[in-house]
Amino acid sequence: MAESVQAGRAPGTVFDIGYRSYAGRREGRGRGRIAVFKNGVRTALGLGRGGRAKILPWSFLAILTGMALIMVLIAGAATRFAGPAGAAKMDLPSHVDYYGIASILLFVFAALVAPELLCRDRRERTINLYLVRPLTGTDYIAARYAAGLAVMLTAVWLPQIILFLGLTFDAAEPVAYLRASWLDVPRFLLAGLVLATFTTGLALLTAAFTDRRAYASVFLVGLFIITAPFTAGLASDIQGPAGQWLSMFNLTNIPMHVNDIIFGELSDVTKDAPAGKLPAAVLVGWYLAWTIVPGLVLWARYRRLSP
């Protein structure tokens, strides 16, 4: 019987097996959150999209990593030409300085990534399809925040890890270098988390108020870049406590002051900032305010969102 059926089939015939109902596992809200997170990371990095969507994020990651490689090469050259003692005297930029040096690039990167995560969904109204599924507005924004944070953490940690590995293997005695510098690892991880949380929150908050990615990106770049020279100039003119407080509105320096506290030394970008002389508790509190408040506003905006 089977043979006769087999014999009657034309080679390459496609059979319509009809509609099959799904009787498998349904993983509910947790799976939905993971899906929005995964989609967020892919969107931010242009994965699964055309080549144009990949150019900016991957260029920035390459530049940020390249900066760490250049720092490794400079440190290696200094050690070779001036010897370990001579290189130490040169006070070459290291882990404590990296975030300060790369901060503008990191802020611009955040300004590009965050609007991709939120603006397109609202502009194309895909957000409505999320909200009619087993997912709340809070789930959606938390998953998007986590995706933005994951991408930012990659951007801040990857170069630091490369820098650490480079400095370790470039050292005359790598094991001795590791023993002396291992504390830099938790420091740059924590300082990176501080910076990534700050930039992600502010960037997503801005992106939550417009559905045009270009507006959000330009506003953010302007906010980060313009406040730095503006507040620095005014603070140096005014001086005193007023100048110190004004200096705290330099947005790029807010996480850098916490970076200095974590590393226990001033970085190149904050050593002249008047706000750096304020107590550590004030600087940390100021940082937390600028991180938590945008997060809360973002949550409030999406919490009751409905199609």
């Binding site: 699964g48 055309g50 895909t126």
Partner: protein, 311 residues
């Protein structure tokens, strides 16, 4: 004895008020398996009812049950509901395959099952060949199919379709209506289809729910509203005037229009008189049939009357 399946959607004294505007006013109805048309003008309360059943907004008072559960348990219920919005909602950059896989995962399906379901759903909605192209390059008809596919990809028990034929040309509209019928007939998924187009509802739905100004005007089997009327329509090849005169001579009231003669409410005896009149007028009969109601008649008849749900 057969068990009647429980209704999939139940509204009991459902009221929704937005800042002084009464969007739904004490509405009660039940929707079972099959395809149900939700009819009403703009602002009649159709979207409000759908949003309440999806658990997106709470009712001001009354009860809404979807799949036997209160819509306050919206997250669990939504895993088994699908929704196709009227407006554009598709990501232009993504391919249909990636988008549907993602939407299936968001609905709670594991990744491997989501990929399989996405491929199956795209095949059933006729998009399989185009599944790797970015959605931004699709025609309006294809986009409507993707919208339907995303509503079906997680194999819901019930799906809400909001104006599914909006913006489609006649051929696209035919295809979409056929897909909707297939959704219930072949996939076993019940449908609530909101539409302004009564012809679409007449051709697709088993039953209808009609709203006006937030109130329930009618609900029931479609055949109840579009069934035979007590009016007989006569169409002849020639001598229509002579036939009308012959009928009037026999005391039958006729009206001429629509390409034939209409006789209101005839009893059995009239048929003999019609036969005699046809012979006398030498009018070759082409068609004699009871006239069927159209949904448009229902709207005209109920305009200005008090809603049925309130009486």
């Amino acid at each position: 004895m057969t068990d009647t399946p429980p209704p999939l959607l139940v509204a009991e004294h459902l009221t929704k008020r937005y800042r002084g505007v009464l969007a739904l006013d004490d509405v009660s109805f039940a929707i079972g398996e099959g395809i149900t048309g939700l009819l009403g003008e703009n602002g009649a309360g159709k979207s409000t009812a759908i949003r309440i059943f999806l658990g997106l907004i709470p009712p001001t008072s009354g009860t809404a049950l979807a799949l036997g559960r209160s819509t306050s348990d919206a997250l669990d219920v939504r895993a088994r509901l699908g929704y196709m919005p009227e407006h554009d909602c598709l990501p232009s950059q993504l391919s249909a395959a990636e988008f549907l896989t993602h939407m299936a995962e968001v609905s709670g399906l594991p990744p491997s099952a989501a990929r399989t379901r996405a491929a199956d759903t795209l095949r059933h909605t006729g998009l399989f060949e185009e599944r790797y192209r970015p959605i931004g390059g699709y025609s309006t008809g294809m986009k409507q199919r993707v919208k339907l596919a995303q509503a079906l990809v997680h194999d819901p028990a019930f799906v809400f379709l909001d104006e599914p034929t909006a913006g489609l040309d006649p051929a696209g509209r035919e295809e979409m209506l056929a897909l909707i019928r297939k959704t219930h007939r072949d996939f076993g998924i019940s449908v609530l289809m909101s539409s302004h187009l009564m012809a679409d509802v007449e051709r697709t739905c088993d039953r209808i729910v009609v709203f006006r100004s937030g109130r329930l005007v009618q609900s029931g089997e479609l055949t109840t509203f579009t069934g035979d009327t007590a009016t007989v329509f006569l169409e002849v090849d020639s001598n229509r005037d002579r036939l009308a005169a012959a009928l009037e001579r026999r005391g039958i009231v006729v009206s001429d229009g629509g390409g034939g003669l209409t006789i209101e409410g005839p009893d059995e005896s009239v048929y003999d008189a019609i036969r005699d009149a046809l012979v006398e007028a030498e009018a070759p009969l082409r068609r004699m049939a009871p006239r069927r109601r159209a949904l448009a008649d229902l709207f005209e008849a109920t305009a200005g009357t008090s809603p049925a749900g309130r009486s």
